[in-house]
Symmetry: C2
Subunit: 543 residues, 2 copies
């Protein structure tokens, strides 16, 4: 490459990494860059609020490998502190780009509009929420800084922050700068030693098992996992965050491991394994059913992007990807198929006329509604806990914020997910409390001709909290959900109370492909999934 | 007071400082405290999203002197980073209370749900956005910390952050702790010297003038200002942030001083004054019409809560309040009434049948619609710029985010403002772009039986930005606004295109007092107020 303007270089790199859309809301400190985005082939997608853009970019990153959100200084940027924190906590590589006052405007430190305390207040906030950050205020280092920060996003699958002062967009970067590529290699000796030890431990074990988590998805290693399972006949469970990493009809699939939330026999199988291969696992308290894990390090091999541990020691400089690939090629013995507890088949569903809908029946019905091209997107609460038991197909995707658990994710995530992969139709599961937070993004869905099927689990309040500690603060404002299509001028709406009404609404929604469909399902305030039943008791104990 | 539980003491202090409502959304880390709030007489008000709660608390603080927003850890707290930044930038004393994991849960640093990076990540973020912050994890210092932080909020009229680990709510604080009161006194000698010098300078001046800004409002010094003007016959202008500090029919009122946004003759009068008394003034670039102020320090006396300056020197330890009160009692000479440029009377409005609405005519009509008990709440853009020219009555309040300029403020602010002072009826002015950000808070308005009159200036996009640099990213999703009352089950809605339709909608809204009224006014995308016309050219130059 020859000489580059800073703004153009940034766009070129983002395109090179697979981004085709940028989510956000323009403002005067970033208008020039918005213009350039348009001209250079990155489609800008306005959401209603910046929060929606942050969630959309997160979902886009989960589906496509990199997401971009572009906002203005402070009034835009600080609105996505929470969505960036979620991307950090759940390992989603989101690039946050913020406009800023021009480098020359900083000089006299005047009270420029949108400023909070100091000019670098926003930068300081994002340093807490990202894995790398930079302010592109030096033309001699700007291109290199862009590469450094984008590499960090890819290396750690975490969000990064790029602040672009408005007078730097069209400034030339270092002449003849050579873009650096992300090449980080494992130390071959450490890699060999770690593989040797792991293979020996696995081959000696009587009942080895795999626990698969979110990083397999983030690093695109699902097929390596399948190869490893097929080669060795070792069965595998996933965490909730890792759900959909394995096709759930795989004969070696155990189910979700999640302490109180998962099934008891999966918990036993995993915790009693004499050699547990943990792949990309970050155990959270929700994974553990809000209690201490009972995994004995003496039996564990744990590989993540950050660390490789076998029993009580660690190996430096071994990449997660390299370790897993080497393991697939290693002399792991193929063993006889073990007798494992398969996930129970959901019973076939037949709608009962006039029978009131329940959470349990809702998910039983949805289980057979999933198709290979469905992407299930769950918001926090029983929308997630119930979905944990859905039987995800080989190519079905599942997005949920199962660790950070920020409400309001699902609806804007549908925008990001469907733009990242237009071949998939999102099935959005969202409670009434979460819908109120970002529900106007329906207008974004309508405007961009997206067609998710949105199911609002209306239990008239913050359902999970009712089971922990109830009070009037757990009630939420009611909406006439089925009328919302009339507000945004597109879509079809249903208000459903019984099983046969739900059946009809689902069938109509499946056929209606031109625009979104919104099905409000009335549920009793205290109705809940079996998983929430188990979880809530534990949460309440901690209050 | 005897012995106190930490949570109870906090509530008692907030009540003592005038708070009666707490805005927010509960979560499991803060459910116990929510329960206590209910029991101890602070009404909890759920908004749809935490962002709405942050804006509502800000408006509540501006009207009532202190606002409280209470949220859960990270997923709640980080959603109000932006609203807290606004409160900081615009000097609004908002107390942010966040739940957190219990002190004992921190010990093993597990991946508790909602955690971002470290346990203190949220605290670190809020240190950037508040004037004082604390984590109440030590029972021996907790009560004192509560006092320290609340005093800072009152002293500086800025937001503060209190993190309350869930297992500390019901822990006893230091026995027999004596609450400290906020008593900060001026140094009497410094005060006397500064007053002597100021009086001499004012009395010698040929054409003294006052510039009044937001701190007069925040410290409740409006009547002191009026006394000073009446005593001395010195005329006064206000900044936009300070609008409504002076009744605009006051014969000594010059109008809004705001560079390009204000009237030229006000600018001249203020900038040519040979003794300008600046009271509580924080000059921003919007106040200055996005250009350097031409105020000569040699002619200025500037008093704020942070600093007292006369010409080129400063006085330490002189409180803003004490200085103004002493000035009122000082031997300032009463001078003859100067000939000053009064704000032009808005022409009487007569609706023209079938004539299309324009921004200019909208504000002309609204000018005569204001009543003494109206509180005007303007969102960013022409909703604000147009409102700058409204003739505010003696007791009319005006709320707008004229410096930080965060969109989406007005609608949730109406919730906070009307709860802070139920005797006032909010007149909300909001653009379509801003409405999309927080519009679902209509459900909060409906649920709490509030009755603002909401005027949506629908110019089909980010109107201000169109005049700076236009592109498809300035278009926003359309809504059928007048149907929104049907969604929330209350209120009346109008869609208005002509002057007579607007007239009818306003009259019907005034009569309809039971619930809110929403009037969508269709405007041409490039129509704008005279103030925006002047401002936009200057903004575009900076792009």
């Amino acid at each position: 490459m020859g000489s580059h303007l800073i703004g153009e270089y940034l766009i070129e790199r983002l395109r090179g990494l697979g981004a085709r859309h940028v989510f956000g809301i323009p403002g005067d400190y970033v208008l020039g860059f918005y213009d350039l985005l348009q001209k250079r082939g990155l489609q800008t997608v306005n959401t209603c609020d910046e929060q929606g853009a942050g969630f959309a970019a997160d979902a886009y990153a989960r589906v496509r490998g990199l997401g971009v959100v572009c906002v203005t200084y402070c009034v835009g940027g600080l609105k996505i502190a929470n969505t960036t924190a979620q991307a950090f906590a759940e390992k989603s590589p989101v690039v946050v780009i913020s406009g800023a006052p021009g480098a020359h405007e900083w000089e006299k430190n005047p009270l420029l509009h949108h400023k909070v305390r100091e000019f670098d207040t926003q930068k300081r906030v994002f340093e807490q929420l990202t894995v790398a950050s930079t302010v592109l205020n030096d033309s001699q280092t700007a291109l290199q800084e862009i590469d450094r920060v984008l590499h960090a996003a890819l290396r750690y699958k975490k969000p990064v922050y790029i602040e672009l002062p408005r007078d730097m967009v069209s400034v030339a970067g270092l002449a003849n700068y050579k873009p650096s590529e992300l090449h980080e290699k494992s130390d071959p000796i450490s890699l060999r030693h770690s593989i040797d030890e792991a293979v020996e431990m696995i081959n000696k074990a009587k009942r080895p098992a795999i626990l698969a988590d979110v990083e397999l998805h983030r690093f695109g290693l699902q097929s390596e996992l399948v190869k490893l399972m097929q080669k060795s006949n070792i069965p595998a469970a996933t965490t909730i965050m890792g759900k959909s990493v394995i096709g759930e009809n795989d004969p070696l699939y155990l189910g979700v491991y999640g302490g109180l939330m998962g099934r008891e026999e999966v918990r036993r199988y995993i915790e009693q394994s004499d050699c547990l291969l943990m792949l990309g696992v970050f155990m959270t308290d929700i994974d553990q059913g809000i209690r201490t894990a009972r995994l004995d390090p003496a039996n564990c091999i744990s590989a993540t992007s950050e660390k490789l541990s076998i029993r009580y020691h660690h190996f430096d400089n071994v990449r997660f990807k390299d370790f897993l690939r080497a393991l697939v090629k290693s002399p792991i013995q193929r063993r006889a198929l073990a007798k494992i507890p398969h996930p129970p088949a959901m019973p076939p569903f037949k709608a009962a006329a006039k029978k009131k809908m329940t959470v349990k029946r809702l998910f039983q019905r949805l289980n057979s509604f999933l198709r290979e091209d469905t992407i299930v997107i769950s918001d926090v609460g029983d929308a997630l806990f119930g979905a944990a038991e859905l039987n995800i197909h080989q190519h079905t995707e599942f997005l949920g914020t199962a660790y950070y658990a920020s409400m309001g994710f699902a609806l804007p995530a549908a925008v990001g997910a469907q733009m990242a992969d237009p071949a998939r139709r999102p099935l959005v599961l969202v409670g009434d409390g979460a819908f109120l937070m970002t529900g106007l993004e329906l207008a974004t869905i309508a405007r961009n001709n997206l067609n998710p099927i949105i199911i609002v689990l209306n239990n008239k309040g913050y359902g999970t909290e009712r089971h922990i500690h109830d009070g009037p603060y757990n009630d939420v404002a009611p909406l006439n959900y089925h009328l919302l299509p009339g507000i945004v001028g597109k879509g079809i709406g249903f208000s459903v109370k019984t099983e046969d009404e739900f059946e009809q609404a689902l069938e109509a929604s499946e056929k209606h492909k031109d625009s979104f469909s919104l099905i409000e399902v009335h549920l009793e305030p205290l109705d809940r999934s079996p998983a929430l039943h188990r979880l809530a008791r534990s949460l309440a104990d901690r209050l």
